[in-house]
Every structure is written in C-alpha cells, then in structure tokens.
Amino acid sequence: MISNLAVLPIVIPLIAGVIAILIHRKLTIVRRFAQILTVVNTIVVAYVLFYVSQNGAVVLEAGDWMAPFGIVLVADLLSVVLVFTTNIIALACVFYAPKSLSDQQEEFYFYTFYFLLISGVSGAFITGDLFNLFVFFEVLLMASYGLIVLGGEKVQLRESIKYVLINLFSSMLFVTTIAFLYSVVGTVNMAQIAQRVGEVEQTGVLTAIGILLFFVFGTKAALFPLYYWLPKPYIAPNPVVSALFGALLTKVGIYSLLRVFSIIFVHKSDITHELFIWIAALTLIFGAIGAMSTNNIKLIVAYNIIPAVGFMLLGIGVYNSTGYAGTVYYLVSDMIIKAVLFLLVGAIAYLTGTSDLRKIRGLIHYYPFLGWLFFIAALVLAGIPPFSGFIGKLLLLQGAIESDQIIVALIGLAASLLILLSVMRIFIRGFWGEKDESIIPDKKAARSFALPVVFLLFFSILLGVGAEWFYPSIASIGDYLMNPETYIQSVLKE
Amino acid sequence: MTLQIVLNVIIAIMWMFLTETYTFVSFLSGYIMGILLLFLLRRFIPDTFYFKRVWKIIKLVFLFIKELLIANWDILKWVYKPKKDYKPGIFALPTELKSNWEITILTSLISLTPGTLSVAVSEGNSVIYIHAMDIDTNETAIEAIKTTFEQAIMEVTR
C-alpha cells in the first residue's frame, strides 16, 4: 500500500533508535549503524518526497480507521519537504557526532535519542491529528531532554532543568487547549477541526483557543516574548546536540503555527494574524539585539534562532501565499543554516577550547577552510544573495509589502543588518587578526568537522543558486496553505 | 494439606462440569460437596483432615471479629468523649511465639483489637511493644486477651 509511505519516515528512525539501545556499547558498530540508517532513511524520505511531489499528498489512516476517527498521517508536500530537510541535517549531524561527543556520551544512548528525535520531529510534521501532534511533540521533547542532559555537566544540568520546566508547562497548556477545542468542535482531527471552525466562522471562544495554541507553539518556536528560555539551554549541550536543537526544535513550533494558522484559525485573521505581525516585529528586534549582546560565540548563534523565527512568523502573519511560501522557504533554509552555524561554532570551541570571542583570534591562519565556511554561513544567515536565505527573505518581504506591512518589512531589513553584524563579528574577531601562537592546530579534527558542514552548506547554496528547482514547489505550498479546502478534502475525502 | 485443598478444588470444578453451571454458587456447592467427600474419605488420604485446621482458623477469625467490634466500640467512646481522660503508653509484652508468621499474625490481631496497637518487636521476636490507649486501667486484662490470641494462633500454626 502506497499510503504506508507516510509512516516510513517515522518508523524507520524509531526502529533504528530501538536497535541502537541494543548495541549501545559497541561504539564502532553503533556509529556505523546510525550513519547507514540515517542514509537509508534519507533515501526513503527522498523517494517519498519525489512521490508526493508527483502524485500529491499521501494520506494514511492508521489502523484503517476512517479519517476523523482514527489518527491520520498526512504526508503532503509541506510535511515531506520539512521531513527531508530534517534528514539532511540529521545526516550531517550523525557524521559530525563521533568526533564531537565523548565516547561516554555516545555510549549513553546518544544515537537512540538522536533517532527518536528524528522520529518525533518527522511525526510532528506528518501527523494530521492535533492530539497526536502533542504526542509527537512529547517524543521529540523527551528525546531532546535525553540529549540535553547527556554528559551531566554542571551547566548542562542547570540549564536543562529550566528547559524541561518551560516545555513541560507549555505541553500541559497544549493538552488543555486541545481539550477546549474538543469541547467546542467535538473532534481532534485537524482537517475536521478546520472544517468545523470554518462552518461557524471561528466564533469568539475559538479565537481565544487559537491564541492559546499560538502561545503553545510560540513557546516552542521561541517567539517574543516567549523565547527567554531558549538561548542558554541550547548552548549547554554538545554542539551536535545544539545543532539538532537549533535546526529542528523551534522549527517544529513554527511548522505547527504555520499549519494551524493556515488551515484552522484563519477566519479572524484581522485580529490574530495582525497580532502575529507585531509579535514577529518584536521577535525580530529583540532577537537581533540579543545576538548582538554577547561575546559567547555559541550564544550568538543561539540568539540568532530568534530573529529567524520572527521572519517566519512574519510570513504567517501577512497571510498571503507569497508570505507562506516565504515562510516555508525560510524555514528550510534556516533549518540548514542553523545546523551549519552550530556545528561551526562547536568546531571553533572544540579547536580553541573556549567559546569566548574575546579569547579567540587569527584562526584563519590555522583553519582557513573553516573560516571561509563560516563566512559563507554568515552571509547565508543574513540573507545575502545568492544564497538560500535571500530567496526566503525576498519572498517574506514581498509578502509583507503585498499586505501593506511596510514597517515590519523595514524592521526585518534592519534586523538583517544586525544579524549580519552579530555573526560577522565572529569572523572578524575570531578568524581575522594576528596569529595566535598558543594554538596547537588539529587539522584532522577540523577536517572531520568541516565535511558535514560542507554537505549542509552545499544545500544552502543550492537552495539559493538553484532556486528555480525548488521555488515552484514551494510557491505551490504557499497557494495550498491559502486554500485549506484542499487539505481538508484530501483528509476527509468528502 | 495442600494435596487436600487441591483435591477439594478439583472436586468443586468437577461438580461445575457435572451441573453445567459455571457460577460461583455452583463452585461453592461443589466445594462443600468436596469437603464432605474428603471428610468421609479422610482415612485414605494422608495427613489430617485439613478442615480441622480450617475450623480452628474460622474460630480464630470469629474471635478476632468479636474483638474487632469491641475495639471499635471502645474507639467510638474515646472519639466522642469530650474529655481526654485516657492515659496512653507503651508497654512490653513477652511472647512465646517464634516464627515471623506467628508474630505477624499476633501483632496484627493486637493492632485490630481493643485499646492496643503494636509498635515494635524486639530482636529475636521475644517481646512485642504495645501502645495502649489507656495503660493504667486494664493492662492485665489486655494481657489476658493477648494470651488467648497467642493460644489460638498456636493452635492454628502448630
């Protein structure tokens, strides 16, 4: 059955994760195993992507229970594109991991957590059921808890407890909100919720419930003023974990916002989406300011997650197909570039033994290749053409202007400058400058860090330079999101 | 003893098959039939007729229920009496019982019966420390009851 394709991206990592438990002590085997399985899964997902782009969404009714009653998995283009991106990042991380992690960390189920994180993230992208989304959120969060505490350093424990607490709170708010929604519309299937909310034109309490959901996802997505928890916990664990977090976790929140506020709560967009635009603006401003505020290179990158999320929310807020397309493009682009940056600053911190920018200089004399990778990554991040960030930003700003949101567009531009400055400081102060004679270069390590980064950057560049191959599909996602009927019909088959 | 119980259960189940009614009632009647059967055939089966011991247990249970009811009556009095005119305290009760089982049963019975509550058992199971609601008035009476229990338990276990 072809509809089983929808479940493969969730199940393969799940099984891999379980197997990884069994062989967790045999490091050489488990490493190789994880790498092979990730490659396999990526190939499978690539096939699913190909299939979906040719034949349209694949809808799987789990256990053959009809759509609104059982759990449906909806592998539409949006989901599968994001799942594919997730796997690309996973691929880079799994090859980066052995060098970056200590043997102990690997032994203590890094690969299991890693696979289950992928499984949870993919599940969250694919599921068409709101409560099931909650469950997948918990899977990926729990895996992230496992990853964030891995190693049990002082700082790590301190920051992870805050991370767990905030996420626990927002999870509880999430289930409660699902209950509220169930009370009003009597279902937890997203397509049916969308249909029913549409039928009553999103009466008052539904809007309030929508806003609660917005805050739930907003907390995960790290929007203003909900992002406070994010930066420090994200830099406490190993860089490879930071990369997975930075690339995937907040993006699941954004994805959920995108889904929910494109198919369900769209009937009072003059209130809700207008609010999003202002929140997006504040997220951009404070995120960019945050990125400027520190000399800790990891923290700089972590803070940079926030304005990116602001950009994506902007695309949701302007509520037109260009904006949606921009959000999706930016989402994909940002997932990759955040992974790149975390991996790179992780490499720098590993090679220099510090993440304090004031103590790093002249690295380019030892690691020119890393330096140029970082330079390109900074440009991608700031949305400088012709890289992937540019296309996303262009679409987002076009979307904003189509909806007459000039001020926010200008704020977005200003934030871009601060973003560029915030990361370029790392290049100028860390890579440029006099040679630091005290460094003992470790070219081998640098090379093994660089390869995964090159792999990811290749996609960043491809998404920009080769935008023609991607844009039509993403534009079609934008249109698709503007017309929730398509989604509803493909699920409910009415 | 175990053998007898097993036999009894088998008889009860056979009875259910015979009557083709699979309810608790038919099981119960089958069981009673079994007891009778075992009683009649007690010569041919090794070990003493187990229901003898069961009977002693039942006697102990009734003794216990009686004491439990009295105990609750006492408690009610204390609960609803406006004045706290009792004098609690802990006293030691030497016991002849040895095995953990016996001690457990005894302490349980002590705890559920009037005015007393076991608090601790000494090392070697020789002394039970008992908290009494009103220690002065009827320490001896209490000890008498406990001794009865001790006897009853020993009859069951030995």
Binding site: G70, L212, I271 | -
Partner: protein
C-alpha cells in the same frame, strides 16, 4: 555578456592553483587577462549608431529573476571603466604586491569584485542588481581586510561593510516596493510605468530607500565616513574600488533610476542637497588630512558629491557634465591613488608631514602627479579634463529650474555658491597634496625608506591614465557622440548633444567662477599654515566617526544591557514574562471577539460530595504553597493526585483512576527519593511586592484558563466524534472497554509513542544516574 560578466569569477576558481607558481609568474598576469578581455569585448560597442542591447539568461524564471543584461550608454560607460581601470590596476598591482603576500586571496577577491561590478551595471533585473550590489560590498570588505592582522584594517573593513550593506538592504527594500507596485522586476519596464510609481503612496519611501543605498555606496555625507577608513586596503584596491568603480555604483544607481525619480522635485532636493553638502564637506575636510590616501579619500568623497549633485540637477547639461566627470574622475583619481601608492611604496610613508621635495628623486611620478592634481583642482588649462567637467558643473549649477518646493528653490539659489566654495577647497587640497609631497624641503631623515623612482611597470598604469587625462583634455569632444552622449541619453531619457569647448568667451559666468576658485584657492593654499588651526575648532567628539563608533559600540553595549536586563537566567523571570504575555493576550482576544460564553443548560448536577472533594483538593493544592516541611508538601501533593483519581472514579473513568493511582503513588515515591538528601523547604523569603506579583500572575493565569474552559464548555457546537467509537468499538474494534479500544486500536499510534516517551525517559534517567558514577570513578 553572461560569459563576460562571469569571466572574472570563473578565472578566480583557478587562481588558487595558478598562484602556486607565483614565485615564477606573478599571479597578477593571469588575472590581467580577465578585465582586458572584457574591455576588449565591450569596446566595439562604442560608436555613433549605438543602440541598447538586451540579453537575457534564465536564473529563477518562476520568480522573474534572471540575468537580464541591458547594455545602454550608461552601463557601457561603467563597464568600460570597470574593465579598463581594472586592467590598469591589475597591472599596477603586479609590481605593487610582492609575491610573498597571499596573492591568491587578493586576486580572488579582486576578480569577484569585477564580476560583481559588471553585474551591477549591466543588470536590468533589480534583484539580480541587488545580488551583485551586495557582492561588491562583500568583496570590498574582504579587500579592505586583506591585511587583517592590522587592527585598523579590520576596523575599516567592518565599517565599510556595515554602512554599504545597510544601504544595500534599504535599497533592497525599495526594490521590493517598486516591484510590488509595478509588477515587474525590470528597471526598463519600471521606467515605462513612471506615472504609476510617482502616484504611489509609497513613492517617498521608495525614493528614500533607494537613495540611501546609493548614498552609502557612493560615500555621500553623512555616510562618507567609511571611505577614509577603507584606505587600509592595499593601494590598488583604493585606486580601483574606492575611487574609480565601486563608489560610483551609487552614482550609477541614481543615474539608472533618474528617468523615474527625476520627475519628482524631492529627487533634486535630496540628491543635489546631499551631493552639494558632500562636495563641500569632503573638500573642506580633505585639507585637514595628513595621509596622502586620506586626502585622496576625502577628495573622492567630494568629487562623488559633485557628480551626485549634478545628477540631482537633472538638466541636460548637468547630466552630461556628470557623465563626463565620471570618466574624468576615474582617470585622474585613479592615477593619483597609484602615485600615492608609489610614494608609499618607495618612501615607506604616506604621511604628508614627513614628505617633501620628492620631485627630484621621483621625477616621473611627480610629473604625473602634477597633471593629475591640476586636473582635479580644475585649473583652467586646456589639456586637463578636470577643468572641463568642473566648468560644466558651474554652468549647470546656474541654470536650475524653478520648483514647487520652497526649499528646493532656496537650495537652487545656494548651490552655485556652495559649488564655488567646495571647489576652492578642492583647489587647496590639490595643491597642498602635490606641493607638499613633491616640492619643498626634503625630509629624508624622517622617511623609513630611501625614496627613488618606481619601477617602470608600476608607472605604466598611472601613466596611461594621465595620458587619458591629457587626451580628453585636448579633445574633450573626442568621445562625445560615440560614447558619452549615449550615456547621458540613457540618464536623461532624450538625446543629449553637448559640445564642450575650452573657451566660451568673456561673458561666461562659469569662467569667473573658475577664476574665483583659482584666485582664492591660491591665496588659501599659500597661507594654509595660518588658517589650518580652524580645523581644531571642528568637533572631535561629536564627529560622524565618533558617532559611528558610538553606534557600533553601543549596539553591543546597549544590546547587552537590554538583553541582560531580562535574560538573567532566572526561571521566575522567564515564567513571569511568558505568563503575563499569555494572560494579557488571551484576555484581550476574549474581549475583542466577545468570546466569553456562559451557558448552564447543559451541565451535570452539582452534588455536595463533589463540591466537598473539589474544595478539599483546592485546599490541599493551596497548602502546597504554605507548607514548610518537604515530606508534608509531597504528601499533600499526593492527596491532590488521589483526589483527582477520586474524581475519575466519580466521573465514570475507572481506567483513568487506576492509572492515576499507580502513577501518583510512584511519583510520590520518586519525589521522596529524590528529595531525601536535599534540604528542607525554606520560608518563602521574597518581598511582599514579589509575592503579590507572583500571586497576581498565577491567579490571572488560573482565572484565564477557567474562563476559557467555561466559555468552551458553553459553546458546544458540534456532535462529538466519540459516538462513533461507542458504536464501533465492539464490532470493529473487537473490545468492550471503549477506552481500551481507542487506545490500542483507533489511536494506537498515540499509545505506541506514549510508550516510546516512557522508554526515552527511562534511558535518560538511567544516563543521568549512571554517567555520574562513571565520572566519579575516574
């Protein structure tokens, strides 16, 4: 054309390999080929019967982004400048840069820059133009930071990048607005829709944004401050990027959009206003400089201001003059930079206070310098091109038309005076520069090296440029009809035919203006040491540079202050802010949408025992706050949990009750275990205000949840899907316990992953406990 544009970049790919032989062949020789080839490729386009050429190459057709190259007079001028000067600069650099330097990097950047510049001036598609525009900023950044071990170099690189990318982004914003209004990405098609653009409410914003891009790139006041610091780059770069080409990109942009914008009076006010201020300020400040390249940098600023001002005039004459001056400036300024480089190279310093009397030691350089500076100063000599364009400038400044904006009229009145004022100082610094360096006393003891004439190779390029100065000076109309007229036409929108001549007769006001400039200029130049003190009265602390430093510094410090003020790592703070946001927004939405609902018709009966249980649970929950004994608080929590399972019992949810009981018991046990060794609870020590704040936040949140819950319950609008479960559980699901059937069948995925969650938790806990033991063993 696509190949021509990308040729330098393609070559750049091979540079790292080619530079391996740099000991044998200077890498510059390979590089030279690229601009030369492009120059030769475009040169045949010059001619009388010039027609614009369009060539399109797909890039992202679905977004209407493509390499749509448009070669008209304007772009032709720039392409030739870029490739021509590029060739000369590369040649010069071969002798300037020693092979011990990282030549590969240098030339890669330079080639990237060339491609970027070609792209900027040839692209008709605004987004492609923007892409190349940013690329020029980036390559400029890398070139300025070429000697990045120097602090000043890094400083200059960052400054130039920040300012130019700032402008680039704003221009980008303007472009997006333009494309949204016109529905096209092509500049030429936009020009067709000038009326639409002018009547758009966003026109002012578009104008401002795009001009911001142009002004930053072309170092217009007050954004000029990056240019002097860009002089940290190797001199070939200064000559090429920061005088002849990149800084003219802004000029190009204004020229490119002139057909649209010049219809607006604001265009004149802004472009000419800023241009003339830049002219005056640049030339005035140039006198103050002591570094040769500093003088040249301010000179460039001032000259760019002048061109900008002329573009703003928008008259036929002014545009022609602007175009002419673009060409002229490239020739004399390029050569002067190269000579400054030679002086620096040979004498070891660029400090004009240490230099003097070099003419005898470096006669050829000195001669070239004299031609260059005199042309720059606009000295009325018939063989200096600078004079012609300056006089045209004066001429144009006198024939400004009336405007509907009062300020524009005042500006128009003031411009001739400002032009003269600026030109006087141009004259002064030009003389100061050339005489200070080559004439006067020799101060050889102050020089780090013993100066002598440069090698011939180094002299070729400036010499060619000076030949250009003289040739154009001698035959100012030589390239008019074949070349500059086309350029001017592209800007003006109608044919421009201008015949330039040295002598206009006595009744020509520009002549008197020139004479005033030369006269006063000479006096001032001679008396410079008497009045130079006035510069001390100019603010040091309040200068624009200080402002920039302050801004950059503050961008970090203020950011840090703002961020640290709320990102203080305090969970209380995080939670509070999050909760306040949720509560206030949700209440606001409820209020706005009138979402509160109250419907008691569908409620279950109220029973006493349930109320009592509720009260008991509430009391227990509240007492978790007040208890000071850790065991007590954990047990009270347990009571709440058991209370909940009691509610599950009462409301017909036995399976839930079972689970809740087990879970609660284990949780309490875990609580006790984990907190066994931790200290007991303490008195809540926070102040009254904080207690109150916490109280308000938590009560607000609880109240919000309750209100939304009641409203949600009061607006049950649809049949629940659960009826289906009750109907099908037995027949299809094969079980009578519907909850179980839902869990294992209909929502089996949930259950599977719920188990996964538990499993991960177990592993994580195991890791948490075990990993420490191992560490302890070490």
């Amino acid at each position: 054309m696509l190949f021509a544009v990308f040729l330098p970049v393609l070559l750049a790919i091979f540079i790292p390999y080619l530079s391996k032989w740099k000991e044998k062949i200077h890498t510059g020789y390979f590089v030279l080929l690229a601009p030369l080839a492009v120059f030769l490729y475009f040169i045949p386009h010059i001619g009388n019967d010039f027609t614009p050429v369009t060539q399109s190459f797909n890039w992202i057709p679905s977004m209407d982004i493509g390499f749509e190259f448009y070669l008209d007079g304007l772009s032709l001028l720039f392409v030739l400048l870029i490739s021509g000067i590029g060739t000369l600069v590369t040649l010069y650099s071969i002798f300037y840069l020693h092979t011990s330097e990282r030549l590969d990097q240098f030339y890669v950047y330079l080639l990237i820059f060339m491609t970027a510049m070609f792209g900027v001036v040839l692209s008709d598609n605004v987004f492609v133009l923007y892409a190349f525009w940013e690329l020029t900023s980036i390559s400029s950044f890398l070139l300025i930071g070429y000697w990045n071990y120097k602090e000043r170099s890094r400083y200059g690189a960052l400054k130039s990048m920040l300012i130019t990318i700032f402008g680039g982004l704003s221009m980008f914003g303007g472009f997006i607005l333009l494309t949204t209004i016109t529905g096209t990405n092509s500049i030429q098609e936009m020009i067709q829709q000038t009326d639409t653009i002018l009547s758009s409410p966003y026109f002012g914003l578009i104008l401002a944004l795009i001009l911001l891009g142009a002004f930053t790139k072309s170092a217009q006041f007050p954004f000029h401050i990056w240019l002097p610091d860009a002089m940290e780059a190797p001199t070939p770069v200064s000559a090429y990027l920061h005088s002849a080409t990149m800084v003219k990109a802004g000029i190009f942009l204004v020229a490119r959009f002139s057909p649209i914008f010049s219809e607006s009076d604001w265009f004149f006010v802004l472009v000419s206003g800023f241009g003339i201020i830049t002219l005056v300020w640049g030339s005035f400040m140039a006198v103050r400089q002591t570094d040769l390249k500093g003088i040249l940098a301010f000179s460039t600023i001032s000259q760019l201001g002048m061109i900008m001002a002329m573009l703003g005039f928008g008259t036929k004459l002014a545009i022609y003059a602007a175009v002419f001056h673009i060409l002229n400036h490239a020739t004399f300024k390029g050569s002067l930079f190269m000579i400054a480089g030679i002086v620096d190279h040979e004498s070891g310093t660029r400090d004009i206070r240490k230099l003097g009397g070099l003419a005898t030691l470096m006669p050829i350089s000195a001669t070239l310098a004299f031609f260059g500076t005199f042309s720059m100063a606009g000295v009325p000599l018939p063989f200096l091109n600078g004079f012609y364009s300056k006089e045209l400038f004066f001429d144009a400044s006198l024939e400004l038309h009336e405007s509907s904006i009062a300020f524009a009229n005042i500006l128009a009145q003031a411009i001739p005076y400002l032009a003269v004022f600026g030109s006087i100082f141009t004259f002064v610094y030009s003389m100061y520069l050339v005489f200070g360096t080559f004439m006067g006393k020799k101060k050889l003891d102050q020089l780090p090296a013993k100066p002598h004439e440069a090698p011939v190779g180094m002299l070729i390029s400036p010499m060619i440029l000076i030949v250009g100065v003289i040739l154009i000076g001698l035959f100012p109309n030589f390239v008019n009809s074949t070349f500059l007229a086309h350029t001017a036409e592209a800007i003006y929108g109608a044919p421009v035919d201008k015949h330039v001549q040295f002598w206009h007769g006595w009744d020509s006001p520009p002549l008197y203006m020139s004479l005033v400039v030369v006269g006063i200029g000479t006096v001032l130049a001679l008396t410079i040491k008497y009045w130079k003190n006035i510069y001390q009265y100019f603010p040091g602390k309040l200068s624009l540079n200080k402002a920039y430093d302050f801004l950059v510094d503050q961008s970090e410090k203020t950011s840090a202050r703002i961020t640290n003020s709320y990102m203080n790592g305090s969970l209380n703070r995080y939670m509070s802010l999050i909760l306040i946001a949720i509560v206030s927004c949700t209440f606001a939405i409820l209020w706005i949408t009138d979402g509160f609902a109250w419907d008691t018709s569908n409620l279950a009966d109220i029973t006493v025992h349930e109320i009592l249980i509720a009260v008991a649970m509430a009391v227990a929950a509240i007492f978790t706050i007040f208890t000071k004994n850790k065991v007590a608080s954990i047990l009270i929590l347990g009571v709440v949990g058991y209370g909940l399972s009691l509610l599950f019992i009462l409301y017909s949810a036995p399976d839930l009750a079972l689970t809740q009981l087990v879970v609660e018991t284990i949780t309490v046990a875990l609580f006790l275990l984990c907190f066994y060794h931790l200290p007991d609870l303490r008195e809540r020590t926070e102040g009254k205000a904080k207690k109150l704040r916490n109280l308000i936040i938590s009560v607000g949140f609880g109240a919000m949840m309750t209100i939304v819950a009641i409203s949600a319950h009061s607006t049950k609008l649809f049949e629940k899907i659960s009826d289906y479960f009750l109907e099908t559980a037995h027949d299809i699901g094969g079980g009578d316990n519907v909850v179980n059937v839902i869990l294992v069948d209909m929502r089996g995925v949930d259950t599977l992953f719920e188990i996964v969650v538990l499993g991960i938790a177990a592993l994580a806990i195991y890791g948490l406990i075990k990993l420490r033991n191992k560490k302890g063993a070490k």
